[in-house]
Symmetry: C2
Subunit: 698 residues, 2 copies
């Protein structure tokens, strides 16, 4: 990717606004006005065949008339004129264009055609394009100071990059950020992302020191696997915080009529974000809570919160909130408690929360904060201040700012209500201290910090390669293809597992009584008999599975029963399978998501998967660490580590199976889905075996 | 309860402020100032031995000097003077006092003694007291207009009653309400609730038309069972919305150092609220979201949300949020869609969400809202308006207000960001329309409306009485008491269940081979043998339980094995029990909560209860409806209604068992805890049986 062309868009020395207008409250007016209002450091040229003067500047009839070089063109003309204008930009030698105009792919087929036309012109000239149908771009870094959006509010500068897939939300977000005193360096509303996508921008910002945090509002992924690769590199250096809309099927349905793209299964999205370290925010508000908490601050070293309060009630709510979000509120050290006893009023509480009570002023807060800053049991401070009437609020706030400045642990301030009337509160924003109305939001953000800590500490993980019998699987799949069968079950499925070294319960086929004898000799009692007829998918429902056969008599009887029931045209075959006594049933599966590709699933068997929906997903391919995490993340995990006196199962056998199956997916892309159900987990490795599987080919 | 004394507190004709002060920024100053600022309609008298004049009023040295009658005294003197002052109030004939002063039970033993002293004086004179250690009381109804708090902000009037157990939060809440343009009629911070508790206030407001909604901030219950009874009556008439802090053990620990009271198990709190129709809010912010949504509005008839938007992205977030909170976003009727096609721009989306797009102005919003108001598929409207530059915001807002005024369905407005800068937004507050920054909060509130709808529709439920053998249980418990045994297991436990008509797997005891023979004849194969020794609590761990015995040979062998293992001093007894083949294991239990009393628990057996923690609790006693709800509310409920081809189990047998055990708890309060584990549920009523139980006595 040519990054110099993105420089043309984000770090231009000159910009032409094509469609600049003299008419107030039009986009053409607002954008040009914003460029001037924000004091763009380069040259700005208005272009509009219908005007001579715009904002006291000479207005050109066409970009071709501008004698100077033009790096960037922002285009706001009606859609039918965009191709023509793009052509002129190309001829002019413009490197980057931003097409604000709508009415393209997002409105239907006619618009899509127009979009393709514009795109081909863009490519013809080696230009890059943002949009169409977008809110604009901006770079607020002091050296550039370009506001190429039609935001009503003047933004401020901060080292945060923001990418929005929604124009309207882009606007909302810029204004919301402003209200929080939060700024951006670079901003891009990517609209229909006909050319430039979020992936391009992520790469562009990867090593740019102007971007310390990346915020992302997405509705769908163009190329999720690529996103994962890119994001995974970046998040180890700087956080990416994402609001991904279209969580539910209905939400996704709403997406498909918006920008004309289909959304993705949300479970895949969660897996994807987990695997590449992107922090997912549930709402725009939360996205900013997290961003502000991270901005210009070190990531806290642990999850132990120290709470300071001047009122008991709020401290309880805060403690509740922290615990509920998986954080700890530990005891302070003896040393801290002693220090506090000396420095606070007698009736103050010196445990955690520390209650300086209503009469606690600047000195009390200083003492409490200092103690916590030095206490090794505490990683983050939550300072609650309900401003009482006899205390100097400003002095307390300055104290908080001062202690924060000279110490390393993050400080979150909570006022228990709106703080616009509180004397001095705006100073906290100026100092980049996270401020919350209520403690629940502070706790939720702290929990995200913890998640990010864990991601940074997480080792890379390896993709082990196993020695497998590819040829055998090749044969099975070829045979199925030639029979025009898409579904593989029974012995074929077992053979595939066996070829890839997945331990499977001993099995053998039998069509006749003699074969039955040798089969039972191979497999041994107790045994399960299943009818081996590929067409019968739900054998249990039709009496095609009999379990717990313990004697030759029984075996014989069952065999003949099945023969009577299922023999057709002289064809009859059963599968005998060793009845495994594993302690815990698990299920391992794979589905194919149209956007994400193969997803691997793990869960505890049957009921847990189907009723409780207690499963973990990861995007293929998975590392050994991914495999272990999947297993540990199901709610029923305690069943695997020993429950009610039973021994813990052999986890290695599970992780290895997941990895071997991951390798199978890599080697055979024609496999569309599979279920290995059940795979028995057991303390005894002899009993760690799959019993049944089903493969579905594309 | 003498309601005329609460009238003295909330509807006084005269109030004395004892400790009124001339010194600004003291509570003594602020309270008296607030009374005047709020224009109390009655007479206000300052009392302070150290001042002659307060706020241009003659200041009395003692309440006894005031010639007029005084209904209410607000006391702000240092704690050591409070008894004396209370005495004088009593002598004066004051009916109600509010003690703001702190330093009582909440600080320790010394304070507790002082509190008792004050309380006895109060009782001596037949007065009522709010506090001590509180933020004050208020009644903003125009006829009274009493602000007896030291809130910095002037409150407004609305028909909402508010009770706070925390002084600081009381203040926060009054100010937060003000920022939302929400008002109160009556307000009480109950502090240490030495006399008047929330229960008293709930009863006082039960039929008062000045209170349409009750808000409650609690840290602990004094008498939870009484609370349940009172709340249950009230919530069918007017909603109670409660923030209950101390959810977690640690939060509760924080409570115990606050106001000196112990908090309660949170699971009991959830059960309690569910059973008496109190809506629990997770935060103060949410409490107000719900209150505003309910204020002066009908409860919506259903959970079907119609979304209108002028931008696609926000609509997706809104749809996601609604679905995630269990609401529906259904298709509009053909009629509506046709109407919209005629009245909106061609490119507008006419499904649900309806997208009027960025150019949609007042007419478009009117059309969309009108269609939804008339569409029978829709119960509530969520109107998203991201104010675009070329649209008249005020006109759109007035349109929303107008359509809302002339139609019955609730309207929630969402601006997707802060709205203080939006022209006309304050008009929505004036019209009591719920406004949200982001759709997630609107959806959460709508979900609470749905919960309340369900509560209102919920029938009363009956407490059935069964014919049981009380005497038999009496004997068993007496015997245990005389043996000084607190734990009853094995055959004693089975006998208790049997006496109360709980179906139990056939059982018989045997000490000798002869007894064994008659036992097996009674019970039948297959059978389980358990060692019957009350001291052995975990029989499975020591080989004291053998299942699946199918033949006399096996029976004999197992019997002798156990005899060898467990015979002691010639004493040896086994319990034979019919091996039930029920489809689903369930667990029914009871624990005793120090505040709530007996809690009944239901869950699916073993692993579901112990690992997944998938259980339902109710407070005893339970009705038939409670019993059914408990069963339906566990996540694993689908296992009971037929899973993978298996038949649904007989639910009646479960509900009846729960009710019979509830009756057992009523009849025998000396039972402290019990577990019936497992109770097998089955399609076949013959197999709906308990297999084992354990009772623990107090």
């Amino acid at each position: 990717m040519n990054s110099s062309s993105l420089d043309a868009i984000f770090k231009p020395k000159s910009v032409a606004v094509i469609g600049a207008s003299t008419k107030k409250h039009t986009i053409g007016y607002e954008i040009f006005n914003n460029i001037l209002r924000n004091e763009f450091t380069g040259k700005a040229f208005p272009v509009n065949p219908k005007a001579d003067v715009v904002h006291s500047m000479k207005c050109y009839k066409s970009i071709l008339e501008i004698p100077d070089e033009v790096d960037l063109a922002i285009i706001i003309v009606a859609r039918q004129f965009v191709p023509q204008v793009a052509e002129e930009c190309g001829q002019k030698g413009v490197k980057g264009i931003v097409v604000i105009s709508g009415g393209f792919k997002e409105v239907g087929e006619e618009g899509a055609k127009l979009e393709d036309e514009v795109l081909s012109i863009v490519k013809k000239y080696g230009m890059r394009m943002v949009g169409p149908n977008c809110f604009g771009v901006a770079n607020f870094s002091p050296g550039i100071s370009l506001d190429g959006t039609f935001s009503k509010m003047k933004s401020i500068y901060g080292k945060i990059g923001f990418i929005s897939q929604s124009g309207a939300l882009g606007q909302v977000i810029m204004e919301y950020a402003r209200s929080l005193n939060t700024g951006f360096s670079m901003f891009a509303s990517i609209g229909n992302k006909a050319d430039i996508s979020s992936n391009d921008l992520l790469l562009y910002w990867q090593d740019d020191p102007e971007v310390e945090i990346i915020l992302l509002y997405l509705e769908n992924f163009g190329t999720p696997r690529r996103f994962t690769q890119i994001a995974r590199q970046i998040t180890k250096k700087k956080p990416i915080i994402c609001v991904k809309a279209g969580r539910t099927e209905q939400g996704a349905k709403a997406v498909s009529s918006h920008t004309g793209a289909l959304s993705n299964l949300d479970v895949g999205v969660d897996a994807l974000f987990e695997q590449c370290g992107v922090l997912r925010a549930d709402s725009i508000e939360e996205m900013f809570d997290i961003a502000i908490a991270m901005y210009k601050k070190d990531v806290p070293k642990g999850d132990r919160i120290g709470i300071i309060t001047n009122a008991g009630g709020p401290a309880i709510l805060a403690t509740d909130a922290c615990i509920n979000f998986g954080l700890k509120v530990p005891e302070l050290s003896e040393k801290s408690q002693n220090y506090l006893r000396e420095n606070l009023m007698e009736v103050a509480a010196v445990e955690n929360p520390v209650d300086v009570i209503a009469s606690g002023g600047p000195d009390a807060y200083r003492a409490a904060m200092t103690a916590m800053m030095e206490d090794e049991n505490i990683d983050t401070l939550l300072v609650i201040f309900v401003p009482p009437i006899m205390i100097d609020h400003r002095a307390v706030i300055e104290t908080i700012i001062d202690v924060n400045k000279h110490n390393g642990k993050p400080v979150y301030v909570c006022f228990m209500g709106p703080y616009d009337q509180i004397d001095g509160a705006e100073r906290l924003f100026q100092e980049n201290i996270s401020v919350y109305m209520f403690p629940e939001y502070a706790a939720k953000t702290m929990a995200r910090m913890k998640k990010y800590q864990n991601w940074l500490k997480r080792p890379e993980g390896a993709f082990p390669e196993f020695d497998v019998d590819k040829a055998k699987v090749r044969d099975i799949l070829d045979k199925a293809a030639s029979d025009e069968r898409a579904s593989l079950i029974g012995v074929e499925a077992c053979d595939i597992l066996d070829a890839y070294g997945v331990p499977i319960a001993g099995y053998a086929l039998a069509s006749t009584v003699e074969e039955l004898e040798s089969a039972i000799n191979k497999v041994g009692f107790p045994v399960t008999m299943k009818i081996n007829k590929p067409e019968i998918l739900h054998k249990t429902d039709v009496g095609g599975v009999v379990t717990d056969i313990r004697s030759l008599d029984e075996l014989s009887k069952v065999f003949y029963d099945m023969k009577r029931k299922f023999e057709e045209d002289g064809v009859f075959e059963v599968l005998l399978q060793d009845q495994i006594k594993g302690e815990v049933e698990t299920v391992i599966g794979m589905t194919n998501d149209p956007s994400f590709g193969p997803l691997i699933m793990f869960g505890l068997g049957g009921i847990y998967v189907e009723v409780m929906k207690d499963v973990a997903f990861k995007i293929h391919p998975i590392t050994d660490i991914d495999a272990r995490e999947m297993i540990q993340s199901v709610k029923g995990y305690p069943l695997l580590t020993g429950f009610r006196g039973s021994k813990p199962v052999n986890i290695e056998s599970l992780t290895e199976t997941l990895l071997r199956l991951s390798q199978l997916i890599t080697d055979f892309p024609e496999i569309d889905q599979f279920d290995v159900n059940p795979f028995f987990a057991s303390a005894n490795i002899e009993n760690c075996k799959a019993v049944d599987a089903r493969f579905i080919l594309k």
